[in-house]
Every structure is written in C-alpha cells, then in structure tokens.
C-alpha cells in the first residue's frame, strides 16, 4: 500500500528518475526525529531572540513593555530545550540503530572515505547521479558532526554567559573554567558567530533535502516526519549484507524485511 502511494505520489516529471521497486525501511527512530525537530524549533527561536539580545531591533512602546525580558526568557527556555534535544541525540549515538550510530558521522573506514569522495564528486558536478545511502551519506554525516559540535559549543559558551548572570556557585563550578580560558567577550563573540553558521547550514540543509528527495525518490523529506524511507530492494539487501557479513544471509534478511515492511495488499 505504502509502496503504491509512494510511487503514485512521485510526479512524472522529465528531470526525475523513475521510481524503482522500493521497500519501506524504518530509518529514523523517534528520538532522532524528536531531537531533530527540537533543534529546528529551538535554533529558530534562539536566533530570533539571540539576535535581538545582540542588537535590539524592536523598539519598546508603552510603560509596561518587557521586550528584552521576554526575549531573554524565551532564549533561556529554548536553550534548555536545545540541550535536552542534544542530550537525546548524544545518547542515541550509542544505543540507536545503525543509521544513528556515531560511526555514521566520522568517516574513519576506507569505504566511508571513498564514499565521501564519491558524494563530493556529485555535488561538484562530476557525476550524473547521486550516490544513494539509506542513512546519512559520508559528507552529510560529517556536516552533521560539525553541526553537533556547534550546538555543543553554543551550549558551553551559553552556560558560561548564563553563569555570569545567575552567579550560582554550582553553575560557576561547572562552567567557570571556560571564562578563565577564553575571555567572556570572546565567548560572547563565538556564541554570536556560530548563529550564522546555523543559518548557512539551514540554507544548505533545505537545499540538499529537496534535491535528494527529487533525485532519489526515496521519500527523504517525509522520513524526518514519519521515520520511514523508501529504498530500492537491492539497496537494502546490499546494506544488510554489510551488517550481516554474507550476501546470502543478506538476501534472506532482505526478503524477510521486505515482506514484513510491505503490508498485506
């Protein structure tokens, strides 16, 4: 049924590849989707409020105005939500499925490194077709690693700035080493500058998501809502072969998974 819906939903446009025989694979587990959307929402609210805190762009009207107060309230609240999202993602690096594992983000194996070059060639217009991956491709994985590092940097610098305002001994004990290492003004600058990094990434991320959605017809855009991607059967078999070790076992597993994922017609 899903397969029918998916193939039917794929518009018959001249620049698109025809959708092949696909199976539905549960790629993104709920904690991954949860942390993704928490990050999206909080980075948007943190950017809007944070930019205001850097350069107040709304002028207050009336005697009961509390613009900066609200901006700071939302900023701090969002910051704690972002930290929660990042925490969930960090945990899922280790207990999630194979596509969520930490090794998808650091191209250490020879295969991932080769894939890194292959994907780079596609984006450099040196290949006709994209290289398909069920999870993240090595370039994307690495980009997300950078993003996670940026989120963690924002959390650390943010806490250092927050500890300055709150003056809590516990918080100062936990993060006080950072302002001693880097002056508070430069922490503020880093905290502000990384926001633009998120904006750059945001533009690029939307673009690649749409591009890959169109080129691969894998339901990539839908997958961040539902968790399911649509993958050609042989791709899944190939992928499973990697996990299981033998092609034969993989074929069996693929057949099994294909039948279990395809609801009865």
């Amino acid at each position: 049924m899903f397969r029918t819906i998916h193939t039917a939903a794929a518009p018959d446009l001249p620049w698109k590849a025809t959708t092949k025989d696909q199976v539905r694979v549960y790629v993104w587990e709920w904690p991954i989707r949860f942390s993704h959307w928490v990050m999206v929402i909080t980075i948007v609210s943190l950017s809007i409020t944070g930019y205001y805190m850097h350069a107040p762009y709304v002028s207050a009207r009336g005697h009961e105005a509390y613009v900066m107060g609200w901006m700071r309230f939302v900023h701090i609240l969002s910051a704690f939500a972002l930290m929660l999202g990042m925490l969930v993602r960090l945990v899922w690096f280790f207990i999630g499925n194979k596509w969520a594992n930490w090794n998808q983000f650091i191209p250490t194996s020879k295969k991932r490194l080769k894939g890194f070059v292959a994907v780079g060639k596609y984006y450099g217009f040196m290949a006709w077709k994209p290289v398909s991956y069920i999870g993240h491709n090595p370039v994307a994985g690495f980009a997300y690693l950078v993003i996670y590092a940026m989120v963690i940097t924002e959390i650390l610098t943010g806490f250092a700035l927050f500890s300055f305002v709150v003056g809590s001994p516990t918080l100062t004990f936990l993060i006080g080493w950072l302002p001693r290492l880097i002056n508070i003004q430069y922490l503020r600058e880093i905290h502000f500058f990384i926001m633009f990094g998120f904006w750059m990434f945001f533009i690029h991320h939307i673009y690649t998501a749409i591009l890959v959605s169109i080129e691969e017809q894998s339901g990539l855009m839908d997958s961040i809502f539902s968790g399911f991607k649509y993958v050609p059967e042989d791709h899944l078999a190939h992928d499973l072969a990697e996990t299981e070790g033998s092609e034969e076992a993989a074929r069996e597993a693929a057949a099994l998974s294909a039948s279990s994922h395809k609801p009865a017609a």
């Binding site: 509390y66 300055f164 001693r180 503020r188 502000f192 926001m195």
Partner: protein, 370 residues
Amino acid sequence: MSDLDQVALRDVLAARGISRRQFVKFCSLMTATLALPPRYVHAVVKALDKSTKPVLVWLEFQDCAGNSESMLRSGHPSVGDFVLDLLSWEYHELIMAGSGHHAEAALDRVVNECKGEYICVVEGAIPMQDGGVYCTIGGKTALDIATRVCSNAAINIAVGACALDGGLVRSSPNPTGALGLSEAVPGVPNLINLGGCPHNPVNTAAVLVHYLTFHELPELDEYRRPLFAYGNLIHDQCERRAHYDAGRFVEEWGDEGARKGWCLYKMGCKGPEANYNCPSVQWNGSTSWPVKAGHGCIACASPRFWDTKSPFYDRLPKVPGFGVDVKAEEIGWIGTAAVGGAMIAQVVGNIIRDNIKPKDTDDHSHPPVN
C-alpha cells in the same frame, strides 16, 4: 611609640575640622560598603577609636597617580582624610614631604623595623622586560622594590588596574613587559586586589577598616578581589536596568533615549559583563558614576579590560585577523549570503545536469557504497 600615637583619634580628627558625627557617618559608610549588618557600626567605631595607627607604605610604579588622586580628592571630608589619620603613612611619593635619600631611608626603616607588621599598598604596573629598567626609583627597579617591600608586609593591597594585572601599561603591545603585582612577585603575603581605573577609594578604605577591625582580610574571589566589592554584576545593580528589560535603548549619543536616561546597552555598555559595586558606592562622595552620567560602563575593574573589553562603544570585540573594522556580524551576513548564492548556483547546475544527462545513464541511482 611616638607622641603622635598617644593622641586620641577623635582629637586628631577634630584638629582637622572633622566632627565626631562625620566620623561615625564614615564608619557607617564603611560598614555598609562591607555589606555588614548595621549592628557592626558600633564594633567598627570602637575598633577605630582604639586603633594604634599601623604603618602604611604606598608604592607607586608604572602609574598615573590616579589611584592616589582618587583616594585624596574624593570629597569633603574625603575618605582619604580618615584613612590618613587612622594609619601612619610612612611612605607615599605623591604626598610625602621628604625626598631623595631621606625618603628612601624612611622606606628602609619601615621594612627593617616593622617587618611583617606594616600594610603595603601598590599602585602601578611592574615592568619585567630588559631587567626591569623601564621603572627605577633611587636606582632600584620596581621589581626589586616590590619584592623587598611586599614580601615583608603584613598585607598587600594592589590598587587600580595596573597593579591588578598591568592595566593600560600592559595592554597590547606592552613594550615594557609590564605585569601586575600578583604575577610580577608571585606569592606576596595576604594579597588583596582592588581593580578599577582608578580604584574606588571607598572600597580601599573599607578593606583597611575591615583589617583594622577584624585583623583579617575580607572574603576574596578567584582574582583575590573582595567579594563585597566585586561579587555582583554592574548590570544587576544599574539604575537603568528597567529600561534594558523593557527594551528602551539609547540609539545614538544625544537622542531622545539619551536625554531620558535609557539603557546604554547598544552604545557598548559593558555593565552586563563587569563585576563591581560602582553603581551602589559611586564616586565623588556618592554623587554619580559613569552610567548615571550618561556613559556606558567600560568594565574598568575587570581583568585585562583594555584589551578584552574594547572597543568600548561596541557590544562585541573585533574579529582577530580580519582587518581593523570588521565585525563578526558583517562576516556572518556575508557568509550566509555566500552560501545562499552557492545554493542557487547548485540548483541551476542540477537543472542543467538533469537536462544534458545522456539517455543511457542508469536511471537507478548508484547502489550505496556502505
């Protein structure tokens, strides 16, 4: 003990035209500055009355004498008036009558005869480069004098930004290799830092009064600054804070907001990143302080403030390695626009690629490598 020491403090003060009432008011100010409960006023008055005038020496190195001036000209009766009578000031280049060998002999006498008993106040930075030749007094380098005098003192008080960490003298490029007292002479006994450009004389007097009353230093923070003076954010004590929370800001000097006393945040006020009791103690007999006078805080009491808190009229420091006048914001916007442009180029490129793609290309995307 000399004859002078026998004279009661109240008589000395009366001789200077300072009434008992003014003296008790001074004790109240000290108690309040130290953040002690009002019942301690009595203890302070009693302790100061009985004070046996401990010896104090005030050393000046690479300085502008601004801290001495701040101490002596803070109002009438100035904090200095009281402190000068509470302590026996044996050496202070700016105000002492003696000069040359006589002056040096006075300092030597203190170090030799009052070893471990006198109070040493240090003002100014200490140059370390080229054997410390950039500041010498009576043929001795500042470092030699500081090492000898400070090491033998009961307590050492570093007043002003220069004595705290080198201040203006140490700011980039620091040609004389200047350092603050704690770094130039590591391990000086009972050091207490009173940063600020200049130091606030009320705080310095409060430290002295605390020492005379309780015979110990007040509680210190990680930079050895007293918590009563450096424990709170300026921003949290600022009288313009309500305008900050409301979102009313001065946009340019002399505009409506500036005339109405709105928040100076957008003019680069460093109040949100500076710890000091400036807004509560204030200056010139508690008349005013920078923000009250309409100028943003420059965080003069913060460590290395000349280098780390400038530009004083911008929120954030300049980005290193990007020329003189480039802001993080400009780099950020240009970078974001560049990425946006690159993505548009990619879209165009992809449409062209899909259109010129040879027909025999496998419709199926390549199988995954992993």
